[in-house]
C-alpha cells in the first residue's frame, strides 16, 4: 500500500478539568454520556485512528456533536489533543515546538472554514495573500501567487472587492483561494460548503473535484451531509459520539454498513446518486455483424428477446436490431446492416443511475453499457434499476457481466 500522508493514531480530546480521569474511564470502556455524568468532562474525540493517502479526498462525516470539527482541528493543533499522535509526513504534529508547528501550518496545511472566516477589513486579494504575508514574502511575489490562486477559483477581477460585497459562494471561493495560495500539501475543509445553499453547494463540489483532478492535494473534508460525502469522498469515515464507527469507500458504507448506526444513517440516502451502471447491469445476448437476419430472429425467439445487440469481432458495439425489423428484413431479403439501429444512447460502467434516467426515457431499447474502449459490457433494463432503487441491488448485481 501507498505511504500515508497523514497518520492519526489513537487521538483523543477531552474537554474539561480532569482529562486524565476521563481518559481512564474511556479505557474502561465507558461511554461519552457516562463520562460526562461521572466527571463533568466532555469526550470530544475518542481514540480516533486512520490514514489519509496522498491525493485522496478523505471525508469525515457525522451529525453535529459527533466530534468531526474537533477532529479536524486536532490535525493542525488548533485544538490541543489530550493524547495520541498526528503524523504528517512522519512528523508528529503533537510534539512539535511552536515554531515548527507554525512552519508546518504555513507550508503544508491549509484550512477552509464553514463560515468562510474571511478578514472583513482586508480586500479579496489581501485575504488571499494572508498565508503568504505571515511568511514575510515580498508584496510583489505574494500578489502574483494570490492572483493565480484567485484565477484558479474563478474570481479574477474581484481582487479589490471586500468580502462583504460578495455572495456566500464567492466568499467561500476566496476562502479556497486563500487556502491554495501557499500551495499546501494538505487541505483541511471544515464543513466548507455547508453554509451555502444547495445549488451553489453542488457547483462548489463539482469545482472542487475538477480542481482536484489537476492539483492532487490531500484533502480532509468534514461534512454532516451524506450526499456530499458520497459525491466527493474517495473514502469516508463515519463518526458518532467522538468515535469513528466505520471507514470505507462510499460503496462499502452504503452496501455494507458496519452497524445499526451507519445503517440508519444511510437508509435515507438517494441510491441513484451512489449506485452506478455496473451495479445494475445485466448480461446481454450479442450477435456478430456478419450473420444474417434469420440467425438473429432465431436467437431472439429462443431467448425470448425483442431486441439483439450487434458487435464486431472485438466485441465493439455497432448497433441493435429489433425482432420486428428482423422479420421484415427476411421477407424483403435485406441484410442486418440495413435494419441496424446505430444511434443508441450508451452509458459507461461508472455512470450514476441518476445520470441515466433521461437516456433511459428517450430509448425504447435497454441501455447498452460500453467501457472506455467501446467494448460492449452489458445492458441496463428498467426493471433492474427500479429493483436497485428499491434496495435489493445485491440481487441485480448478480447478473453483472464479468
Amino acid at each position: 500500500m501507498e505511504k500515508a500522508k497523514i497518520t492519526v493514531k489513537d487521538v483523543t480530546k477531552i474537554f474539561g478539568k480532569s482529562p486524565k480521569q476521563a481518559t481512564k474511564l474511556l479505557d474502561q470502556g465507558k461511554s461519552k454520556s457516562e463520562i460526562l455524568k461521572e466527571t463533568g468532562n466532555t469526550v470530544g474525540v475518542n481514540r480516533a485512528s486512520f490514514d489519509v493517502y496522498p491525493g485522496e479526498i478523505f471525508v469525515i462525516m457525522g451529525l453535529s456533536g459527533s466530534g468531526k470539527s474537533t477532529l479536524v482541528r486536532l490535525l493542525n493543533r488548533l485544538i490541543e489533543p489530550t493524547s495520541g499522535q498526528v503524523l504528517i509526513d512522519d512528523e508528529d504534529i503533537v510534539r512539535m515546538k511552536p515554531e515548527q508547528l507554525r512552519d508546518v501550518r504555513r507550508k503544508k496545511l491549509s484550512m477552509v472554514f464553514q463560515r468562510f472566516a474571511l478578514f472583513p477589513h482586508k480586500t479579496v486579494l489581501e485575504n488571499t495573500e494572508y498565508g503568504l504575508e505571515v511568511q514575510n514574502i515580498s508584496k510583489e511575489k505574494r500578489s502574483v501567487k494570490a492572483q493565480e490562486s484567485l484565477e484558479l477559483v474563478g474570481l479574477k477581477g474581484y481582487e479589490k472587492s471586500y468580502p462583504s460585497e460578495l455572495s456566500g459562494g464567492m466568499q467561500q471561493r476566496v476562502g479556497l483561494a486563500r487556502a491554495l495560495a501557499n500551495d499546501p500539501d494538505v487541505l483541511l475543509m471544515d464543513e466548507a460548503f455547508s453554509a451555502l445553499d444547495p445549488l451553489i453547494r453542488k457547483d462548489m463540489q463539482d469545482e472542487l473535484l475538477e480542481l482536484q483532478e489537476s492539483m492532487e492535494k490531500t484533502i480532509v473534508f468534514i461534512t454532516h451531509d451524506l450526499d456530499e460525502a458520497l459525491r466527493i469522498g474517495d473514502r469516508i469515515a463515519l463518526m458518532k459520539d467522538g468515535s469513528i464507527v466505520q471507514i470505507g469507500t462510499p460503496e462499502e458504507i452504503m452496501t455494507n454498513p458496519a452497524n445499526d448506526y451507519v445503517e440508519r444513517f444511510v437508509e435515507d440516502v438517494d441510491l441513484s446518486k451512489v449506485l452506478t451502471a455496473s451495479h445494475v447491469m445485466k448480461r446481454a445476448e450479442t450477435l456478430r455483424a456478419d450473420r444474417g437476419p434469420r440467425v438473429a430472429l432465431q436467437l431472439m425467439r429462443e431467448q425470448k428477446l425483442s431486441s439483439l445487440y450487434i458487435v464486431d469481432k472485438k466485441q465493439k458495439l455497432i448497433g441493435a436490431i429489433t425482432a420486428d425489423d428482423a422479420a421484415k428484413a427476411i421477407e424483403a431479403k435485406k441484410e442486418i446492416a440495413d435494419i441496424l439501429i446505430t444511434d443508441l444512447p450508451t452509458v459507461e460502467p461508472g455512470t450514476l443511475l441518476t445520470d441515466m434516467f433521461v437516456k433511459m426515457a428517450s430509448s425504447s431499447l435497454p441501455l447498452p453499457v460500453i467501457d472506455e474502449n467501446d467494448k460492449f459490457k452489458g445492458i441496463i433494463v428498467r426493471g433492474a434499476v427500479i429493483g436497485a432503487l428499491a434496495g435489493n441491488e445485491t440481487e441485480s448485481a448478480k447478473g453483472e457481466v464479468s
Partner: protein, 277 residues
Amino acid sequence: MQLFPKIPLADWVDSFVDMLTDNLEPVFDGITSGIDWFVEGIVSILAFPPALVLIAIFTILAWWSSRWPVAIFTLLGLLLIDNLGYWDPTIETLALVLTSVIISIILGVPLGIWASQSDRVRGIITPILDFMQTMPAFVYLIPAILFFGIGMVPGIIASVIFAMPPTIRLTNLGIRQVPEDLIEASNAFGSTTKQKLIKVQLPLATPTIMAGINQSIMLSLSMVVIASLVGAPGLGADVYRAVTQIKVGIGFEAGLAIVILAIMLDRISQNIGKTKN
C-alpha cells in the same frame, strides 16, 4: 459599642503617601516638569494662530469626520465662545483634555492589549479599574496635590486616573470580541501572536477602541473642570470662581462653553472612529 477598635485605614494611607512623597520626590518632579512642558507646548501651538483660523480648522475637521450639522454647530459654537471672551480658557481646557487623553491612550491601549492576551492579567486589572472609576474623583486630587503640588499637573494626573479605564476596558473587549473563526483562520495559516494582533485583532477592534477613547475624552473633560479646585487653569477655573462668588451669569457662560467643547469633541471623536471602518 465597637467590638474591635477602629482600623486606622486613614492613618495607613497617610503614612503610605508620606513615604511615597519622601522617597519618590525626584520622580514626581520629573513627571511634573514633563507634563508641564507638554501642556505648555500644546497651549502655545493652539494659541499661535488667531482664533478665527483655529475655528476654521476645527470646522473643517468636524465636516470631514462627521456631517455638515456637526460642522455648523462647531463653527457657531466656537464663534460664540470667542465672542463671549472665553477663548483663552477654552484653549487651556482643550490642552488639558488632549494631554490627559494622550497619556490615557499611551498607557491604556497597551494595558488593554495585555489584558486581552491573558485572563490572569485581566483578572488583576479589572478590580483596579472598578476602583479607579467608582472612587469619587475629588479624592484623587488630595494625593495628587501632595505628589505634584498645586496647579495644572495634579489635575491632569487625576483626570488620567479617572479617564483611562474606558480605554483599557474597551481595548480589551474589542480584541476579545474578534470572532473566534477569524482567530482560528489566523492561527491556521501560521501567524505569530504579534502578527495576529497587528494584522487581525487590532484592526478589527479599532471601532471599539475608538469608542473607549471617546469615553476617555468625555471623562477627562469632566475631570479637568473639577481639577480647577486644585488650581488647574481653563474654563473650570471660571466656573469655580463663579460658584464661590455666586455669579450666575458668568457661571452660565463658562458652563455653556464647556458644553459646546464637550459636544464638539464627542461628535468628532465618535465619527473619526466610524469613518476609519
